[in-house]
Amino acid sequence: MMNAGRCRAGRREILANLLVVLALFAGTHALAIGSLDLNPSAWSAPWTGDVVLVSAGLLFLGLAVLLPLHAGLLNLAVHAQFLAGFAVGALVARSVAVDPGAQAALGLLCGALAGAFTGIVVAWLKQRFAIHEVLTGLLLSAAFAPLALAVAVDRVTPPALTIELSALTERLSWAGALKLPPSLVLAWGILLLSLAIALGLLFAHFLRTTVWGFEVRATGSNPLAAVATGMDVDRVQLTVMALGGACAGLTGALQLWTSPAVALERWPFPLGFAGVAVAFLGLGTVRGSILAALLLGAWLNTPYASDVLSRPLYGAAIAALLLLPALWTLPRLLPEHGAPRAIWRTRHRESL
C-alpha cells in the first residue's frame, strides 16, 4: 500500500485537537451551568436521529473542504457551494410539481450539480486569472447569501435557513408534514451518514491505489513537480473542486428534504464553513474528519449547546475555538509556499 502524499499529523497536533474537542464539550457545559442560569433538569438527551442527520451534513461539508485540500486547494468557497445547492434545490422544489420522492431526488441532484459548478468556477478563475481560491470563495459566499435567502422566502418545504430556535422542541414536525414516520427519518439519516462515510473512505482508497489519487497527491504536495512530470494539474484541481462542490451543494439541498437544519441552525458561523472546522479538526484526513463530524454532531445536539450558542458572545468564542485547529493544521497541509505562484509565472513568463 502506498503512503499518502501529505504530512502525517504529529502527536502534538493530535493532542491539540483532542484538547479542542474536550474544551468544546466541557466549556459549553460549564458556560451553560455557570453563566446562563438554566435548569439542567429540563434538558433531555439528544435524539439519535438528530445526531445522525447533523453528522451526515457536517461530514459532507467536511469532505467538500477535504477533497480539494489534498490537491493543494483551500476550498473556502464551500459556503458558496452550500448556498448554491440550497438555492437550486429550493428552485426545484418550488417549480417542479412531481411526485415528492422524484422531486427530492431531482432537487438533491440539481443541488449537487450547482455546488459542483460553483467549484469549477472557482478552479477555473484560479487557472485562468490566477485569482486565489480563498478570495473567490469568500466573495462568492457573500454574493450567494442574499440569493439563497431570496429563493427560500416561499416555504414550499420545511425552511431550513430561517427556522426559529423555539421550533426546536417541535422535533420532527416537518416529518409529519411530509407524512414520514420517525423510524424512516432515522433510517434516512443513517443512509445519508453511511453515504458520506462511504464516500470519504472511497476517496481515501482512491488516493492510495489509483493513478488519479496519485496525481491528486502529487498536485497537492508539489504542483511544480506534477506539472513537470506531465500531469494535468488543471484537470486534477478542477475535478476535486467539482467533487468537493458537489458534496457541499448536496448538503445545501439536503437542508430542504431533511432536517439537519434543526440543529445546524445553531452553528456559530456561516454553516458552509462548518466543513473547514470538520476538515481541520480531523487533521486533514478522512478518518479524522469522520470522527470530527460525529463528535461535532453529538456536541451540537447536546441540550446545553443550543442554550450557549443562543448568546452571541459565547457563540463567537466557540467559533474561534472551532477554527483554532486551522492554525496548526493548515501550514502542514498546503503545498510549499510559493509553488502555485511559481506555476503561474512559468506559464506567463512572457508577461515580463
Binding site: G5, V211, G230, E350
Partner: protein, 511 residues
C-alpha cells in the same frame, strides 16, 4: 562609511539543528577589506555557518566577534549576541526574490531620503541611488524592475543596497550559484573592491573551488565528517585546494569516449526566442544530437541557456524555428508527449520540479510514468511492480541503505539525485537532456552522476548536457558548444582545450 576597526572573527563555532550538528568547531578570522570563501557541498553547513554569523541562528558553542562592534561596545569577550549580529552584519540568502521594484527603489529601500521626515525626497534619492549603482556598474539600469535584471545584475544591486546599511560585515550565501564563471569572477571582483573601499570583511559561500581565485584571501573548507580547515589562497593552488577538499578522490578529467554517434535523435533548427527582461534572446540556435554521443552546451544561464532548456522542456514555445525529435516536430508538444516519445530530463539537484519530497522513494521513482504499464493498469497502481522497480533501482544505483518506503525528504542531496537519475535512465530513454545534473553535490556524487549518465549514453542514448560550468562540459563532451550572444560557438574538444578558453568565449557573450 566604513570603520577602521571592522573585521570578523569566528572562534570554535558549532551550530546544531535539534540533535544534529550542522557545523562543528569552525574558526577563522577575516581582516577588514578581505574576501573570505567558505567551500563545501550542499548540506555541508555553509548556510548554517553564515546564518549563525548573521544572528539568524543561535550558536551551540563558540563565539563571533565583529571588530567594529567591539569598538563601539556592542560586543564583548563572549562575542556578539544574535541580536547584535543582526544589527552589525548584512546577510544575503542564496535566492534573491524577483521583486517588481525598480533598481533605484531597491537601492533606497532601507534608507530613503525624506523631506521633513515624511515625504520622499525624489531628487536627492535619485542622486543617491545613482551614486550607489555606479559603484557596482549598474547605474544605467536605475529604472529597470529588479525582476527583469540578469542574475549578476541582481546580485550587484543587492551588493550596493547592502552598503546603505553600513554593515560591519557582509555575508553572502552562494552568490555565484546562478552565475556563469565569467560572471562569478566579475561579481567577486566587484565585491572585493567594495570590501576594500568600505574596509569591511566579506564572507561568501560556494560549491565551486574556482571561485577562490583570484579575489578571495582565504578559504575555509567544510566537509561532512571532517574537521573544518582554513587555507590562505596564496599558499594553495586551485588543484591543491580541490585535493584538500576531496581528500584526493579520483576525478575523471576526460570522457570515456570518443563515442561513435549513430542516428540523429534531436534536431534543433533556427530557434529564435525572446529573453525575459534583460536576458539574452536566442538568435537562431542550430544543433543536432545523435545517439551514443554527448553534446555539451556551456553558457551563463541568462545568456540563453535557460531559454534553450525551457524550449526543450516545453515550458515556452520559441517564436520561430523547429525542434524535431526522432523525425517528428515537437516544438509545440507538451512535456508529457516528449517524455512518452523517449526524451527524459535530469535537472539540477536542487530543482524543485523533479521530485515530491513528501512521497516515498518508490513513489518518486514512478513520477511521470503512472499512465503506462507496468506501474498502472486500468487506472489502478500496481503495488508489486512499483515495489519491484524501487528495489531494483536502489540496488543498481548503490543505494543500499535506502528502502523503497523511505521518505524522499529524509535523504541527503546526493542519494536524492541518484534516485532521480535512476528514474530517468532505468527505462532506457532515447535522449537525455541533463541540465547541470551534478551541481552542488559532493565531488564523489558528482562523479557518480556523470558516470551514470555517460554509461547510459554508451548504451545508445543521446545525451545533451547543458551547463554553466566549463570543466564539467570538458569532462563529458564529445562535441562542445558555447552559448554566446544567443548563438552557439563550436569549440573542438581536444587535449589542449582549457577552461580559460571556454570562459573567454563565454565572457564574449557577456560583453
Amino acid at each position: 562609511m566604513g570603520g577602521k576597526d571592522a573585521g570578523l572573527e569566528i572562534r570554535g563555532l558549532s551550530v546544531a539543528d535539534g540533535d544534529r550538528w550542522l557545523v562543528r568547531d569552525v574558526s577563522f578570522s577575516v581582516p577588514p577589506g578581505a574576501l573570505h570563501m567558505v567551500l563545501g557541498e550542499r548540506g555541508a553547513g555553509k548556510s548554517a555557518l553564515l546564518e549563525a554569523a548573521a544572528g539568524l541562528r543561535r550558536e551551540a558553542k563558540g563565539s563571533i566577534h565583529f571588530g567594529r562592534g567591539e569598538a563601539s561596545g556592542a560586543s564583548n569577550a563572549d562575542g556578539a549576541t544574535p541580536r547584535q549580529r543582526r544589527l552589525l552584519a548584512a546577510f544575503h540568502p542564496r535566492e534573491i526574490p524577483a521583486v517588481s521594484l525598480t533598481v533605484a527603489e531597491r537601492l533606497l529601500l532601507q534608507r530613503p531620503p525624506r523631506v521633513g521626515g515624511i515625504a520622499l525626497h525624489r531628487g536627492r534619492g535619485r542622486a543617491e541611488a545613482k551614486a550607489l549603482a555606479s559603484r557596482v556598474g549598474v547605474d544605467a539600469l536605475l529604472d529597470v524592475p529588479i525582476e527583469a535584471l540578469r542574475p549578476i545584475e541582481r546580485r550587484l544591486v543587492e551588493l550596493a543596497a547592502a552598503m546603505t546599511q553600513e554593515p560591519a560585515a557582509l555575508l553572502l550565501d552562494e552568490p555565484t550559484a546562478d552565475l556563469g564563471p565569467h560572471e562569478a569572477r566579475q561579481f567577486l571582483a566587484t565585491a572585493r573592491s567594495m570590501a576594500e573601499a568600505e574596509k569591511i570583511p566579506i564572507v561568501f559561500s560556494t560549491t565551486w573551488p574556482r571561485d577562490a581565485y583570484p579575489d578571495a584571501t582565504a578559504v575555509t573548507i567544510l566537509w561532512r565528517g571532517a574537521d573544518p580547515v582554513t587555507v590562505p589562497t596564496n599558499e594553495c593552488t586551485e588543484a591543491a585546494l580541490v585535493q584538500r577538499w576531496t581528500g584526493g578522490i579520483g576525478i575523471r578529467r576526460a570522457p570515456s569516449g570518443p563515442h561513435t554517434p549513430g542516428d540523429t535523435l534531436l534536431r534543433v533548427e533556427g530557434i529564435i526566442m525572446e529573453g525575459r527582461g534583460r536576458e539574452t534572446s536566442l538568435a537562431g540556435i542550430e544543433f543536432e544530437v545523435k545517439s551514443g554521443e554527448v553534446l555539451a552546451i556551456v553558457g551563463a544561464p541568462a545568456d540563453g541557456l535557460n531559454l534553450l532548456h525551457d524550449a526543450l522542456l516545453g515550458n515556452r514555445v520559441p517564436r520561430r524555428g523547429s525542434i524535431h525529435f526522432l523525425g517528428k516536430e515537437i516544438m509545440r508538444a507538451p512535456r508529457r508527449h516528449r517524455v512518452e516519445s523517449g526524451m527524459t530530463f535530469v535537472n539540477p539537484p536542487i530543482a524543485r520540479d523533479q521530485s515530491v519530497p513528501e512521497f516515498t522513494v518508490e513513489e518518486n521513482l514512478i513520477l511521470g510514468q503512472t499512465h503506462v504499464p507496468p506501474f498502472a493498469r486500468r487506472g489502478s497502481l500496481r503495488t508489486e511492480s512499483i515495489r519491484g522497480n524501487a528495489v531494483r533501482a536502489l540496488q543498481d544505483f548503490d543505494l543500499l541503505d535506502v528502502t523503497p518506503r523511505t521518505r524522499f525528504r529524509d535523504l541527503s542531496l546526493g542519494p536524492r539525485q541518484r534516485v532521480l537519475v535512476a528514474r530517468e535512465v532505468i527505462h532506457n530513454p532515447r535522449l537525455l537532456v541533463a541540465r547541470s545534473p551534478a551541481q552542488g553535490l559532493s565531488l564523489t556524487e558528482q562523479e557518480y552522476v556523470r558516470r551514470t549518465l555517460i554509461l547510459q549514453c554508451e548504451r545508445g542514448s543521446g545525451l545533451l548536457w547543458l551547463t554553466e560550468e566549463p570543466e564539467e562540459a570538458m569532462r563529458v563532451a564529445d562535441r562542445l558548444a558555447v552559448m554566446t550572444a544567443g548563438r552557439l560557438v563550436w569549440i573542438p574538444v581536444t587535449e589542449t582545450l582549457t577552461r580559460e578558453a571556454i570562459i573567454a568565449e563565454m565572457s564574449g557573450a557577456a560583453a
